[in-house]
């Protein structure tokens, strides 16, 4: 394990051991890794970059939001949907992975006297928000959306932290029927003063949250889900158009992000 501080960036590459890799409902898995170097440093909204060796001819690491962290372990929630996550889902207790982390610029933690936090999650985007809820001195409301009951993850974990959880599913199988923005709008309608939004989920959801934040004049931090390659800022794959005094520029989701101030993103330039 190498550990060097440069320009306040702290990350390590660790060979870690799988503690458990359990399948939940649907294709969702919960992976726990013994990774003391990363666990010690992780901040809310950061991610880990996993090299899944059994992928063989698929070379690249895969980025995952860090869901929970203890003194010496981190856990990750993922859905087995592609080559990387399929291979990962077949790995067992005791097997090893190479992980680089913690990476990225995460969420700013709410202050005791600051804005009241409203968290907005779509599907496994909820994983990226758990550490934020855990660190927050103020217990706020978390809005969770998904296609169906099966897509609503870790509701109990947020409740255990003492947060108010409001669920919406597209098919109405759990909570309110509709998109996650529906209960969010209802809450902002009730009170928007002194509120701040923190969101993670699919890009169209983040964009909708950005629009809502703008119309209610509340700040919003969004964690962007960009396709990534190196994860440390050199390949320039994961760029997002961000406004600058001169116009706009491409910034890296892995380094300047994944969390951006929603009002700074040039949403109209994102396909």
């Amino acid at each position: 394990m190498t550990l060097v501080r440069t320009f306040s960036i702290q990350m390590v590459e660790e060979t870690v051991t799988i503690v458990s890799n359990e399948r939940g409902p649907g294709q969702y898995f919960r992976l726990v890794l013994r990774a003391p170097g990363i666990a010690r440093m992780v901040k809310p909204g950061q991610f880990a970059h996993l090299r899944i060796l059994p992928m063989k001819e698929a070379l690249l690491r895969r980025p995952f939001s860090i869901f929970q962290a203890t003194k010496d372990s981190i856990s990750i929630l993922y859905k087995a949907v592609g080559k990387g996550t399929e291979a990962l889902s077949r790995m067992c207790h005791g097997e090893q992975l190479s992980v680089i982390g913690p990476l990225g610029h995460g969420f700013s933690v709410p202050k005791p006297e600051g804005e009241f936090p409203l968290l907005v999650a779509g599907g496994y985007g909820m994983a990226a928000l758990y550490l934020l809820a855990q660190c927050s001195p103020v217990k706020g409301i978390v809005f969770v959306g998904g296609r169906s009951r099966i897509d609503i993850l870790c509701e109990d974990e947020f409740k255990a932290l003492g947060w108010d959880v409001r669920v919406a599913t597209e098919d109405g199988s759990h909570g309110e029927k509709g998109l996650v923005t529906k209960p969010l709008l209802a809450e902002l309608q009730r009170q928007s003063n002194g509120r701040k939004l923190y969101a993670c989920g699919p890009t169209p959801m983040l964009r909708a949250v950005g629009d809502i934040a703008k119309s209610y004049n509340v700040p919003a931090e969004v964690s962007m889900d960009a396709h990534m390659c190196c994860g440390v800022g050199v390949c320039l794959t994961c760029v997002i158009p961000v406004k600058t005094p001169q116009g706009w520029e491409y910034q890296r989701s892995c380094t300047e992000g994944p969390v951006f101030d929603s009002s700074q993103i040039l949403w109209e330039a994102i396909a």
Partner: protein
Amino acid sequence: MNLSVKIGRLQLANPVMVASGTFGYGVEYAPLVDLNQLGAVVVKGIRLSAVQGNPPPRTVEVTSGLINAIGLQGPGVDGFIKKYWPFLRSLKTPVIINIWGTTLEEYAEVARRFDELEGVGGLELNVSCPNIKEGGSHFGTDIKLLARVVSACRKATSLPLITKLSPNVVSIVPYAKAAEQEGSDALAIMNSYPAMAIDIETRRPKLANITGGLTGPCIKPIAIKLVWEAFNAVRIPIIGMGGIQSAADAIEFLMAGATAVAVGTANFYEPQTAIQIIAGLREFMQRKGIADIRELTGSVKIERNQAQSRNCA
């Protein structure tokens, strides 16, 4: 045991460099990699002004490779000097600047600007990026333009000059010779190979730029052949690159005719690759009783009758 090699007058402590565009400006990997152990660091391509780059998606993973169309996003000469040079200058390992332009004059001007900068190890001329409409590969696939751009840069700088060649030519030999004749101190072989991938669900290209450049282990055999052909045609040293991810890969390049090698795409998935390769080279030399790494360059054994009966199939 000697691992040091020379690229022009540039002395490298070992022959393992990191390739342009895969290692940013060094600083990004500093938390994970001891940069001073590397033979050299080659920074991402820089032109005179800042470049925004192509819209995303910019890369796509393919079988044993990666296609990229980044579009040489970068800070430009002034931005680079201000933001990255103080850090790079502090390194003990040589820093090679990859430069490009859209006109001959711009190439020469960028070369001149870096010639004035204290501490630059060498310049790598990027005449082979497939993702730029003007400049980039059209200088690398037209032999007259290639000769002119090398000549213009040679006049603009006394720094060691490395010409990075495109694989997208019928034969690399005349290009290698032209670069040598115009005063290039070394060749870098090869840049990425033009490529494309399609999403069959949406029928859309997987890259916003439609096409890109293929890199990674899948291109290694192509690069080995090009290095071998160029080695037989020129006297200047060759830096071999294309899909290197192990010491065995690096040794294969050396045997084909490379004096040094560069690790590219592998940095993205295993930042320690170059460091591991240096250790692996030592181990191989020890095992084979090789005292000097330079003994390996071009040491592939080809029987006379094998060479004579060779055809292009």
